[in-house]
């Protein structure tokens, strides 16, 4: 141990540390300053950024003793410093205020690092240019990708810092609310930009994610992963690990008392593998020990002998008759079929037939918060699991099943979630910590490091997609045939559902008379593939939208006109036979984007003729269902309670993964009760206290849980009105609810008093509502497979360097039909974040697996877009309401990510004449194609 003496947030601080601790560890685990986050432990993501002597550093890779004698500032020190400087005891630092008001925090996990990096910048330069901010934040990632908001907030804050420094009036500073796209006139609450209720906690460091929880006597757990892609377990011996001092428990499959497997759809995923491992991330044993170091050391003492089995490494190979089998049931997870009309006839009628095959790799969610779960035994003997999960109720049932307990003996409590994007739907450490807590009787924390997170959790499906399209000379589509292979990896996860969505959407948002689509979702020995924002449609949209541009070129037609004449419209019939009766805003989206491109011709900004850089626009469309669809019951519950102090609380187990559900339910409740939103608290994700809202997936929560909150609040309002009507002898209809008051006949009763009246009458001022979305039909029945679709048109302006193959996105344009903008601030955050993620899908990201072995096993090998990649975005909102949606709203979470990739690859073709049939765009292959005169990169 050594003594570390330094200045921490302006206070002299002395702490005993081990020589090998990092500054992040000392701050978080010795000093309890958990505002500083650890995202990667490899100085890649910037989440752990703190200031040392005024300069931002990655504290996760900074030996604590390096800070000897230094001045260290963390996010917890921001507001106090500003309060001392200004004498205002309640103030937040202008950066914090600008982040809150400017809608910057989404999941919030990156925010402390972004704030501290920005603080370092503003201390040196309070009036940074765009380029200054982009340079300073280059390696401080936000996976929700609110980069334009971040840029705006830092500059707006800088103006206020400068005003304070120079003693001038900051009134001239730009507003904290960023410019937002136009939306229809708001209601009282709905339709107005609203900062998140958790935003202040997220900018002060008070926000608690799972690893920020500490319990007395807590043990630390780690998981032994297979490390081999396919093998039989010949021998497993934990004796030496158990004998290591400090180890409290080592569990294997034999210690799982209930069901051995878990799984969201198919229970095929062993909690702990007994006889066979199917991918490198398979869990073989778990250890709980007094410290994380001891638990890690114990893993090395577990002896496992494997007999290697042949590896199934891609879905095409998996379908061959001679392929090794991953599961006893065979390698076919599901053959998915879409049939409409007769494609043979459709192709016979065609003047032109085109066919191409596209490939997409696995992609990684790279949520900045690695998975963490804590299990403990509550005083009543039940098992409690604290976890940031997208599906708390299914976590509960999966934990209970493996523990051999009834569901009600398990409680799942949601912590804040540092990003999900679909990657926190499956079980990670939840079952393991529950098991270990039961065995040891002590709280147990299982925290994955980034490496483990990358290796373990399900990815976006790698696909091979063949598209064959037939059209008349005038551009009318006559037939589309697609064949998809989806690599679902070692376990089913949501693979069947994801690939179904990929398949049903594989002919694009077009009315096509004859469609035939076949998809083979296959098991392989790769990491499982599951949900990831876009849910399969990201891949199939790339294929079909590339093909549409090819078709336009072949026919000599304008790609916009070709698309417009084939678009789905109200009255149209989708590939699955669904008649669209309302809310099809795709034509409007296309027109808005096409018009905006015309206002911004790429040639206008074209580099000088001598330059070897070429610019062009490219465009693509997309559509995406809202809700589970396919006949699955889609429901969500919410409870609203009114308190005598005039506040209300809305409770639901929908997950807040950064997308803004928290303001959606807050606003719906406030609108219906006539309360200011600030008086509505939101409680999420506690299976004891919040009703089941189903999974946070399929862009469904605004629709289903928004509706549940709206209708619970409306039910409660009616109950309040009934009470007041009796009491004051009024018609209930005469009672208006506004600004926290119930008004009638010139009287005004505060809602707190109304709540009191209800209590006096023995009625609880509380209502629960279970909302059931309109019923849907299974694929193949020809009915309504989905209750709503969102639509988008996007365009990208790119610049291709003909000498190096480098591609840069200069500008993005988007129009999204999302039914109704509930909170335009959060909506724009989702749109921009989704598009930047789409840009990453096109240009920067690729999760590489070779023969079942994960190559991308550190974050340094997985580049997500940084602020330097994020171009200006011109965004339009189309509000083509869906009748059953809350105030007309439908989903937005996924659609924004879907057309971006083909818009970019189409732009690349328009710029340099090379069509990319495989993502991500490889500048190496692009340049070589240019040099060889090839027209396509396959």
């Amino acid at each position: 141990m050594s003594t570390l003496t330094f200045t921490l947030n302006d206070a002299p601080t002395t702490v005993e540390v081990r020589d090998n601790e990092t500054l992040a560890e000392v701050l978080r685990y010795r000093l309890g300053l958990t505002g500083t986050k650890i995202g990667c432990n490899e100085a890649e993501c910037g989440a752990c950024s703190v200031l040392v002597n005024g300069l931002p550093i990655d504290s996760c890779l900074y030996p604590a003793l390096k800070a000897q004698g230094a001045s260290v500032q963390t996010v917890e020190g921001l507001a106090p410093e500003w309060r001392r400087a200004t004498g205002d005891p309640a103030a937040l630092h202008p950066l914090q205020e600008a982040f809150v008001q400017g809608g910057v925090p989404q999941c919030g996990f990156c925010i402390p690092g972004v704030l501290m990096t920005a603080k370092g910048l503003l201390d040196r330069n309070p009036t940074p240019s765009d380029a200054d901010v982009r340079a300073a934040l280059k390696d401080t990632y936000c996976r929700c990708a609110g980069y334009s908001f971040i840029l705006h907030a830092i500059q707006a804050a800088g103006e206020r810092v400068q005003a304070q420094r120079t003693g001038t009036n900051g009134a001239a500073a730009q507003p904290l609310l960023p410019a937002l796209p136009a939306t229809q006139p708001p209601l009282n609450v709905i339709g107005r930009p609203l900062p998140r209720p958790d935003a202040v906690d997220k900018v002060t460091g008070a926000a608690r994610y799972t690893d920020d929880y500490v319990f007395p006597g807590m043990l630390h757990a780690r998981t032994l992963r297979a490390g081999v892609p396919h093998a039989r377990i010949k021998r497993l011996d934990t004796a030496r690990a158990k004998a290591l001092p400090g180890v409290v428990a080592v569990l294997t499959a034999a210690d799982v008392p209930g069901e051995k497997n878990h799984g969201l759809v198919v229970q095929d995923w062993p909690a702990l593998c007994a006889d066979k491992v199917r991918y490198v991330g398979d869990a073989v044993a778990v250890v709980a020990a007094e410290t994380r170091e001891i638990a890690s050391a114990a893993l090395g003492l577990i002896e496992v002998e494997y007999e290697a089995l042949p590896v199934v490494s891609d879905p095409v190979q998996a379908r061959r008759p001679d392929a090794p089998t991953v599961h006893a049931t065979g390698n076919l997870l599901k053959h998915i079929k879409v049939r409409k009309g007769d494609v043979a006839q459709g192709f016979a009628e065609a003047d032109v037939i085109l066919e191409r095959t596209y490939h997409t790799p696995f992609y990684e969610h790279a949520f900045l918060e690695p998975e963490c779960a804590i299990g403990r035994i509550a005083e009543d003997g039940r098992v409690e699991v604290i976890v940031g999960s997208q599906i708390p109720y299914q976590d509960r049932s999966q934990i209970a099943r493996c523990l051999g307990l009834p569901d009600d003996q398990v409680r799942v409590i949601g912590a804040l979630i540092g990003g999900g994007f679909g990657g926190k739907e499956d079980i990670a450490g939840q079952i393991h910590v529950a098991l270990l807590a039961r065995v040891t009787g002590r709280p147990v924390k299982m925290l994955y490091d980034r490496h483990e997170s990358l290796v373990f959790h399900p990815k976006r499906h790698a696909t091979q997609i063949r598209v064959k399209v037939g059209a008349k000379r005038d551009g009318t589509l006559t037939a589309v045939e697609t064949e998809l292979y989806g690599d679902s990896g070692a376990y089913a996860s949501l693979g069947e559902k994801v690939m179904t969505r990929a398949t049903t959407h594989s002919a694009g948002p077009y009315e096509v008379p004859h469609v035939r689509a076949d998809c083979y979702a296959m098991y392989t020995n790769n990491p499982p593939a599951g949900a990831f924002r876009g849910f399969g449609v990201t891949q199939s949209a790339f294929a079909v939208e590339s093909t549409m541009d090819l078709l336009a070129e072949t026919l000599g037609l304008d790609p916009v006109a070709l698309r417009r004449q084939n678009l789905l419209r109200v009255g149209g019939v989708t590939n699955t036979g669904q008649v669209l009766r309302e809310s099809v805003g795709i034509t409007r989206c296309l027109d808005l984007v096409a018009d905006e491109i015309k206002r911004r011709p790429a040639a206008a900004g074209q580099p000088a003729a001598a330059s070897r850089k070429r610019r062009a626009w490219g465009l693509a469309l997309g559509y995406k269902n809202t809700g589970l669809g396919g006949g699955a019951p889609d429901k969500a519950g919410a409870e609203v309670e009114l308190y005598t102090d005039g506040t209300a609380e809305v409770r639901t187990s929908a997950a807040e993964i950064g997308q803004g559900l928290v303001t959606v339910v807050q606003m719906c409740t406030a609108e219906e009760l006539g309360l200011p939103p600030a008086r509505v608290r939101v409680l999420l994700s506690d299976t004891d206290r919040t009703p089941d809202a189903g999974p946070t997936t399929a862009s469904r929560q605004t629709f289903v849980t928004g509706n549940a909150a709206r209708l619970a609040a409306r039910t409660l309002r009616q109950a309040v009105a009934a009470t007041l009507a009796e009491r004051f002898d009024q018609q209930p209809d005469n009672i208006r609810f506004e600004e926290g008051l119930a008004r009638f006949d010139g009287q005004a009763v505060p809602l707190g008093e109304a709540a009191q009246l209800m209590q006096q009458e023995g009625r609880m001022p509380r209502a629960v509502y279970e909302y059931w979305a309109p019923a849907t039909q299974p694929l193949g029945t020809g009915g309504d497979m989905h209750f709503a679709f969102s639509y988008a048109a996007q365009a990208a302006e790119v610049e291709v360097d003909l000498d190096t193959g480098e591609v840069k996105v200069l500008h993005l344009i988007a129009a999204h039909d999302i039914g109704r903008a509930i909170n335009p601030l959060a909506l724009q955050g989702q749109i921009e974040g989704g598009m930047i993620m789409g840009l990453g899908n096109a240009l920067t990201e690729e999760f590489i697996v070779e023969q079942g072995r994960v190559v991308t096993d550190v974050l340094a090998r997985y580049k997500m877009p940084s602020i330097r990649h994020a171009p200006p975005i011109t965004s339009f909102i189309v509000e083509d309401a869906v009748e059953a949606g809350p105030y007309g709203a439908k989903g937005v979470g996924e659609i924004a990510s879907i057309p971006t990739t083909p818009a970019i690859t189409n732009a690349i073709y328009n710029a340099c004449g090379v069509r990319v049939l495989k993502t991500p765009v490889d500048q190496d292959q692009l340049l070589l194609a240019l040099k060889r005169g090839d027209r396509e990169v396959a």
């Binding site: 090998n20 432990n41 003793l65 340079a135 390696d139 170091e293 920067t844 340049l927 040099k931």
Partner: protein
């Protein structure tokens, strides 16, 4: 992280060498640690008994000018190099290359000496030092009763192979670098191409130094990497340039000479050899054109990196 046991923060070269010697090979010098700690943590290097932090030794954290010579301490951070007005003029390529390494957080702790000790053939700072024809001062632990010896070695002598430094980690320490500041008619430039996906290493980097006297290239130095196991000087191209009037038309032939001399190879998930061959001409063209323009116009503002 239990990857090392002791952390020393010596304030003199002698003290640092004593720690290294005491642990007889089981200690490692650490400056910023951004490469070293990752390699230890990810198991690419064995855990060590001790880390010897050299960033509190005054000699190692100083940038100085003495006549024609510039001295840059091995423990000077990339941020400090980028901020140095002196170096911006005297060694523009060094400022440019140090400005593109990692992100700001990494540059605030990572040092030039660390870049050299890491011994990658494409180290950005490394390539600039090679183009500057720099030397490194190495301090060596003394035998019994002797004082530490210091010795200047040519920069290229510090490289054995990819990731293998010729500096003996058990008893040697890089103290500082020196090179001649750009004189009249002399200038430098650095350019590189990155891959947007995957590895954080450059696909190819190139640093150039030129001396343009009376419209003629009096001398040139070109450093390229990765173009072999150690950083490479493109000596044939340098020779072909020397004594010639500057003309962009000569670039393709010069690029051919660089390609001939370079040992370009395919690195999985990073670049094909063929792609690297194609990049030589644009990189050479960009760096040389810029360096010549700087030399002729006597301007030296480092270019901000455009890459993401």
């Amino acid at each position: 992280m239990a990857h090392w046991q002791h952390y020393y923060q010596p304030t003199s070269v002698g003290e640092a060498l004593t720690h290294l010697q005491h642990h007889s090979g089981a200690a490692r010098v650490i400056a910023g640690g951004t490469d070293l700690l990752l390699e230890i943590q990810q198991g690419h290097r064995p855990p060590v008994a001790a880390l010897v932090d050299v960033t509190r030794i005054p000699d190692l954290v100083t940038v100085a000018r003495d006549g024609d010579w510039c001295y840059v301490g091995a423990g000077v951070t990339h941020t400090a190099i980028v901020a140095s007005a002196e170096l911006a003029q005297a060694a523009t390529c060094l400022v440019e290359s140090c400005g593109v390494i990692g992100g700001p957080q990494v540059r605030n702790v990572a040092t030039l000496g660390g870049n050299v000790a890491h011994a990658l053939p494409a180290g950005d700072g490394t390539l600039s030092l090679v183009a500057l024809d720099a030397e490194a001062e190495i301090a060596q632990a003394p035998g019994a009763g002797q004082t530490p010896a210091r010795q200047w070695r040519p920069i290229l002598d510090l490289y054995r192979g990819p990731g293998q430094s010729a500096v003996d980690a058990s008893r040697e320490l890089i103290v500082r670098f020196r090179f001649r500041a750009a004189g009249p008619g002399e200038a430098t430039a650095f350019k590189r191409v990155m891959r947007p996906q995957g590895v954080a290493l450059p696909i190819l980097g190139l640093a150039a130094w030129v001396s343009v006297q009376a419209g003629v290239i009096a001398a040139a130095r070109i450093a390229v990497g990765p173009a072999g196991p150690t950083p490479m000087r493109a000596r044939r191209a340098e020779a072909a340039l020397a004594g010639q009037a500057w003309t962009p038309e000569a670039l393709p032939a010069l690029a051919d000479l660089v390609v001939e001399e370079a040992r370009l190879r395919t690195s999985p998930h990073r670049a094909t050899a063929e792609y690297r061959r194609e990049l030589i001409l644009p990189l050479l063209s960009r760096a040389l054109t810029l360096a010549v323009r700087r030399a002729v116009t006597a301007t030296s503002a480092p270019e901000a990196a455009e890459e993401a």
